[in-house]
């Protein structure tokens, strides 16, 4: 589907692990300030796909990519792009909450700014500015009221759901434009999942979000557009409403009605 001024434009994207091809000529556009869901059965390449967007895929030994991924019209695989700079504009949240266990809650939020050099923190590494960033990011993920009294406790003292929201706050603190989420609720209980989904609703106007999920209800609830992947290929990419009411492809229908997967 062609759209005007997409945030991300993916063209003929293929990816391999060694000799094994996991993505085959994926092409579609991701609209800005919308939530795009990627669904599909296990092993269909959906995680690999979003890891190609922020060039995390290439960190794996023997991983290869071909094709184009454009962010605001610029090819992220061009020789002039530093992957580290790209990843600051395209943040990522992982399947398993992965806060830095040796750091405090506060330091976790600031980790992105500190890791990439204190200078990135406005006005140097001043605590005043740091406090502002921490509060803003934690409020954005509705974690502020829960942890404001224990910002200096270690991050691994939080529950799994809180840890995942902390990881989202950590990603937001770097002020990315795109947020990639790789099954962010896979290891959370239903209540924590509901909180993260609420959060997605709050974030959708400010960020372009691409969320991988194996939970079709979740895709239907939170996303504006949905792409269905099967065996490394994009079967269908549609408005979520259309996708879940009248899918255009037989295989999509079989999948979302639970006939396989």
């Amino acid at each position: 589907m062609e759209i005007m001024d997409p945030k991300l434009r993916i063209r003929d994207l293929s990816a391999w692990y060694g000799e094994r091809q996991v993505l085959e000529r994926i092409s579609f556009d991701v609209p800005a300030a919308r939530i795009t869901a990627i669904i599909g059965p296990s092993g269909c390449g959906k995680s690999t796909f979003i890891r190609c967007i922020n060039r995390m895929h290439e960190l794996v030994a023997e991983a290869r990519v071909r094709g184009r991924v454009e962010l605001d019209g610029h090819d992220v695989y061009s020789a002039t792009v530093a992957p580290e700079r790209l990843r600051r504009r395209v943040g990522m949240v992982f399947q398993k909450p992965n806060p830095f266990p040796t750091m405090s809650i506060r330091d976790n939020v600031l980790a992105g700014l500190r890791l990439t050099g204190g200078g990135a923190l406005r006005g140097g590494d001043g605590d005043v500015d740091g406090d502002g960033v921490v509060e803003q990011a934690l409020r954005a993920v509705a974690l502020w009221d829960e942890v404001r009294d224990r910002l200096h406790r270690r991050a691994d003292t939080l529950s799994a759901g809180q840890q995942q929201r902390l990881c989202i706050a950590r990603a937001l603190a770097v002020e990315p434009e795109v947020l990639l989420m790789d099954e962010p609720c896979a290891s959370l209980d239903p209540i924590a999942t509901a909180r993260v989904e609420d959060l997605l609703g709050d974030l959708r106007s400010r960020y372009t979000i691409v969320i991988v999920t194996h939970n079709m209800q979740q895709a239907a609830r939170v996303s504006d557009r949905t792409g269905f992947f099967l065996e490394g290929r994009l079967v269908e990419f549609e408005d979520t409403d259309i996708m879940f009411t009248s899918p255009g492809d037989r295989r999509t229908e079989d999948y979302i009605t639970g006939r396989f997967g």
Partner: protein
């Protein structure tokens, strides 16, 4: 109850403790864990027996208090100083090597890793010979403390490196990915995420290295030039005045008084090692507790 009755009564077979092989294994494990205790007790027992045979234990204590303690305390201080120097050299080298070996694949890396692992098993006398030829002679450092510290550093570096590699490998990849996803470079992720997480493991390697360096006599004999008794005192100190060599030298003397002093030296050596390892283990435990939250 006989075995047959037992089996019939429950219908679920024998409880594990009654299984012969399981018990054999448990007994084997118990014996294995008792072995170091027994060896340690025998060692201490022998020391005590020898000490008790001394003609005048009182006199020994008096002599130690008067002048002998000087040599003993001096050698303890010398040992601590020498070991600190060598760890200061070996730690950055060992951790650096581990970081390199755990980094992205490069050609010849597995060969390097194999080499490093084998170095940890090389007899220490060989390090003494290397130290003598390389530092003392080729680099003209003489029979100096620096040469001795560098030799000990060579000796314990593989121990640090092997432990640090294991510690680095134990850091979950999710943490590395979290760092990369925030836009950090490899160096930033290694320094600020991976190394802090691996610290307890690295520290345990350093403890092992300290203990090894502290008790080592053979390489120092060569490097300190005790055989030709020409060791050179510098402002940094004198490689001859370390605890293992102190004991060695006393044992080589034929007088019984010297033997007594040597036993005192051994007791101090063992005691220091025990204090060191207790302290280090507690430090490590505290770190791990903090980690568990």
């Amino acid at each position: 109850m006989t075995r047959a009755e037992l089996r019939r009564s429950t219908g679920l077979g024998l409880p594990p403790r009654r299984q012969f092989r399981g018990r054999l294994f448990a007994v084997g494990c118990l014996l294995a864990s008792l072995l170091p205790v027994v060896v340690g007790a025998l060692l201490l027992g022998a020391l005590l027996r020898q000490g008790a045979q001394m003609d005048e234990p009182q006199a020994l204590i008096q002599r130690l208090a008067a002048s002998g303690a000087d040599g003993l305390l001096g050698s303890v201080a010398g040992s601590l100083w020498l070991v600190s120097l060598s760890i200061f050299i070996a730690m950055p080298l060992g951790v650096g090597a581990a970081v390199h070996l755990e980094g992205p694949r490069r050609t010849g890396r597995s060969l390097l890793a194999l080499n490093m692992a084998s170095l940890a098993a090389v007899p220490s006398v060989l390090y003494g010979i290397v130290g003598l030829e390389l530092f003392v002679r080729a680099l003209h450092l003489g029979h100096s403390l620096v040469a001795a510290a560098m030799t000990l550093a060579l000796l314990v570096m593989p121990i640090v490196a092997v432990a640090a590699r294991a510690a680095l490998r134990a850091v979950p990849d999710e943490l590395r990915e979290a760092g990369y996803a925030l836009g950090a470079t490899r160096w930033q992720v290694t320094r600020q995420v991976v190394l802090p997480a691996a610290l307890p493991g690295i520290f345990s390697g350093v403890i092992l290295a300290i203990a090894r360096a502290f008790g080592e006599a053979a390489p120092l004999l060569l490097v300190a030039g005790l055989a030709v008794s020409s060791s050179e005192s510098t402002t940094l100190g004198d490689p001859e005045h370390v605890l293992p060599l102190h004991v060695f030298e006393l044992l080589a003397r034929p007088h019984e008084a010297a033997q007594a002093d040597a036993i005192a030296g051994v007791v101090v050596l063992l005691g220091t090692l025990m204090v060191l390892s207790t302290w280090a283990t507690r430090l490590r435990h505290r770190h791990e507790r903090r980690r568990d939250g």
